[in-house]
């Protein structure tokens, strides 16, 4: 029904997809598996018309097609349900289902009765017992997903792509979702299901497709496969992984967390983080591995004082209990956080290098209320030298620098505070291989100088390259804690995968 041949996609130097050829059959559920960055989302975005520039061909029902935008793909019969749902919270279910496709009466006004009736029929078919006039914003996430599926059915899609549909819904809602998928199969639709939850896939998938580093590794019938085999295929690497020689153990604990929990707002009994406890020693690099949604970023944010009101638990810096009301307190106590999204949370892109580097330590640069330009320049020059930041001058605007150099600036900004604990969230995301190595080297150097470091990453090779110890997080809890010599890729990945059964 839907066939792709030799699909290749580049993103400014990085190959996201490399010569992928696949076929999607009607009445079958195809599970697409792969690590973060394997190319799953990229492929789906090409299929659904979000990305329009690519090499290779798409054949739909035997004819070659090219989609100019998502609407064109929808009209042909390919719908995608994104992880971030595309609904308008302020409109009702009916209004959302018919958004852009409203039914009109003969005089051109909205035919609300007809739309409501069709919406009701669709909801009944999908077994969602909610009034179609309910505002989508008042629905639970699982119900919102069903509304998205209803949208896909309204346009009689033949291919329905679901991107991590069960990542934000409860067990019971997942059961309903599977019933719906079974119904779609009976209607001879082709379903493409992207998920990390391997045990779910065993329940509903007919075929598996494994992607790794943008390439098609293997595909075949799901029947007879074991979870271990799938994990092996997801992870198996040709490159030799550089492993860290673990630093000497038994150093003094400079930071620890006890029973840290963060409840989820709005849903009592549900937690973003539950009973997290760990410690970091002087000069130790703690790696935290986990998949998206595991709660790693939230953990760092909570430690840094961003969720002070909701969190419970104990944080100790240099064995003294501390209580942070905001990042300012955390900074004063000697913590530093290099955020995941450097452009959004780490830098002021419109300001220059030296202003950005000086941002955290301005109080040490002022005399009687006046800022000393000279001290600011000296500071930035120091770090430009030490971290080998490639910039024309301290006055260059940060947004004009490469990702790797931008990341070094964020790092410099925090090193200037002379922290006790440095937390890095996905420090090499979107950075080329050379800059990655530079940053790994820097991190090891800093640890050697006695800094405690936490590195959060979803890239296994990265964790293995720099961590002394690895924590694996899954669904807000710590599932495993291993010294580096015991941390094999398969073991880490298995611990990171959430269970739904």
């Amino acid at each position: 029904m839907l066939q792709v041949k030799n699909i290749t996609k580049h993103f400014s130097g990085v190959t996201a997809l490399d010569n992928i050829s696949l076929e999607f059959l009607p009445g079958q559920v195809h599970a697409i598996i792969g690590e973060n960055g394997a190319g799953k989302s990229t492929l789906m975005k090409i299929l659904s018309g979000v990305y329009t520039q690519y090499e290779g061909d798409i054949f739909y029902k035997g004819h070659k097609v090219h989609f100019s935008d998502p609407k064109a793909a929808q009209e042909k019969g390919i719908s995608i349900i994104h992880q971030e749902l595309n609904l308008v919270a302020g409109l009702s279910i009916t209004e959302n289902i018919f958004l852009g496709r409203e039914l009109l009466t003969r005089i051109g006004l909205l035919n609300k009765a007809a739309m409501r009736q069709q919406a009701s029929a669709l909801l009944a078919r999908l077994k969602l017992r909610v009034n179609p006039d309910t505002l989508v914003g008042d629905l639970k996430v699982g119900q919102q997903q069903v509304v998205e599926i209803a949208k896909a059915l309204l346009v009689e899609s033949e291919v329905i792509i679901m991107d991590e549909p069960s990542s934000a819904i409860s067990e019971s809602e997942t059961t309903v979702l599977f019933d719906i998928i079974a119904g779609l199969k009976r209607d001879n639709k082709a379903v493409v299901y992207i998920s990390h939850k391997l045990d779910e896939l065993f329940k509903i998938a007919d075929r598996y497709i494994v992607l790794r580093d943008g390439r098609l590794i293997e595909e075949g019938p799901m029947k007879g496969m074991q979870q271990e085999q799938l994990i092996q295929k997801m992870v198996g690497r040709d490159l030799q992984v550089l492993r860290r020689q673990a630093a000497e153990t038994n150093t003094a604990t400079i930071f620890s967390v006890e029973q840290l929990s963060l409840p989820r707002p709005g849903k009592t009994g549900s937690f973003i983080l539950k009973d997290i406890s760990f410690s970091v020693g002087k000069g130790e690099i703690l790696g935290i591995f986990g998949l998206m949604g595991a709660g790693r970023t939230e953990l760092l944010e909570t430690i840094f004082g961003l969720h002070a009101r909701r969190m419970t638990g104990l944080i100790k810096v240099k064995q003294q209990p501390v209580s942070f009301k905001n990042p300012y307190d955390a900074k004063k106590a000697g913590l530093a956080l290099v955020p995941e999204d450097r452009k959004k949370d780490g830098l002021v892109p419109g300001l220059d290098v030296q202003t950005n580097i000086g941002l955290t330590t301005l109080s040490s640069m002022e005399t009687m209320g006046w800022l000393s330009k000279r001290r600011e320049t000296d500071l930035s020059q120091k770090y430009i030298r030490e971290l080998h930041i490639k910039t024309a001058s301290g006055r260059q605007l940060v947004k004009d620098l490469s990702g790797g150099n931008q990341q070094k600036i964020v790092l410099a900004k925090w090193l200037a505070t002379q922290p006790v604990l440095l937390m890095l969230d996905e420090p090499t995301r979107g950075i080329d291989i050379h800059a990655k190595q530079e940053i790994y080297h820097l991190v090891r150097q800093l640890a050697g100088q006695g800094l405690g470091i936490i590195v959060v990453s979803s890239e296994l090779p990265e964790i293995l390259a720099i961590a002394d110890r690895v924590l694996v997080m899954c669904e807000g809890k710590i599932k495993a804690s291993l010294p580096i010599h015991e941390a094999a890729e398969e073991v880490l990945l298995k611990a990171a995968i959430p269970l739904t059964i």
Partner: protein, 326 residues
Amino acid sequence: MINIQEKKQYLRKFQSLIALFLLCVGISLFSDKFLTVTNAWNVMRQISVNICISVGMTLVVLTAGIDLSVGSVLAFCGAVTAGLIKHGIELPSANLYIEFTLTGGILAGVLIGAVLGWFNGWVITRFKVPPFVATLAMLTIARGLTMLWTNGFPITGLGSKFALMGTGWLLGIPVPVWISLLVVVIAILLTGKTKLGRYIYAIGGNESAARLSGIRINKVKMAVYAIAGCLAAVGGLIVTSRLDAAQPNAGTSYELDSIAAVVIGGTSLSGGRGSIAGTVLGAIIIGVLNNGLVLLNVSPFWQQVVKGGVILLAVIIDKSGTKESQ
């Protein structure tokens, strides 16, 4: 099976109405001239211009935009109509003398309003100029155009027929009230029963979802600003007719009153939430407030302070409501 949340939502819809009720009760305790029929029509007539402008402003704000130019556009369109009715178009150099009928003049004024509004929308969508900046520029431009057109002097003596628009009575109800009523009814039909209305809410609620649903965002936005310009023109006609003069400085600060009405009426400045009915209620509250303060002999300067305070209060209460529902 109504739980606490739903009860709260229900109450919120009526909070403006309750506020208005309390306000009326309060004022009537201090002034016996308040609860009279004459006074009631006074208030309705005074707010009729604001209602016209505010309806247009509501549509713009629903798309997460803003229109600061309505006051100036009101003045310019009023002046255009007045000038055309009185003098027509005279270009001696080109030997051009066009006389305008009353209807022609009115239509021309409304059309100019639509064009200026459409221009706002064009600048905002084509060049991605933030609505605040684009309409701020138009505020100045339209005021300048008004000065140019009127040469700085009021245009007066527009005839008794035209004066009907602002001073006439029909079936015991002032004509401006009829006009604003018509505008409100059409607007409620538009937002509730047409594709355009639906799209306005969708764009304000989640522009990227609207775009991915194939909605022509730019076309909708241009239409919305054009409507706002149109309605500003209608307001201008009422003002000009009532004063029997097109004043060069008419409409100054009218945009503030209209934003106040929109905000008090519960429409969110970030778009996607709100209603025409809410805005009308907001305009009535402001009108009653103004009226009450005058009847109580409060200095007009205090009126400013009170009005500002009420706007703040309304938004704070509204914001605290939404936070809970999340």
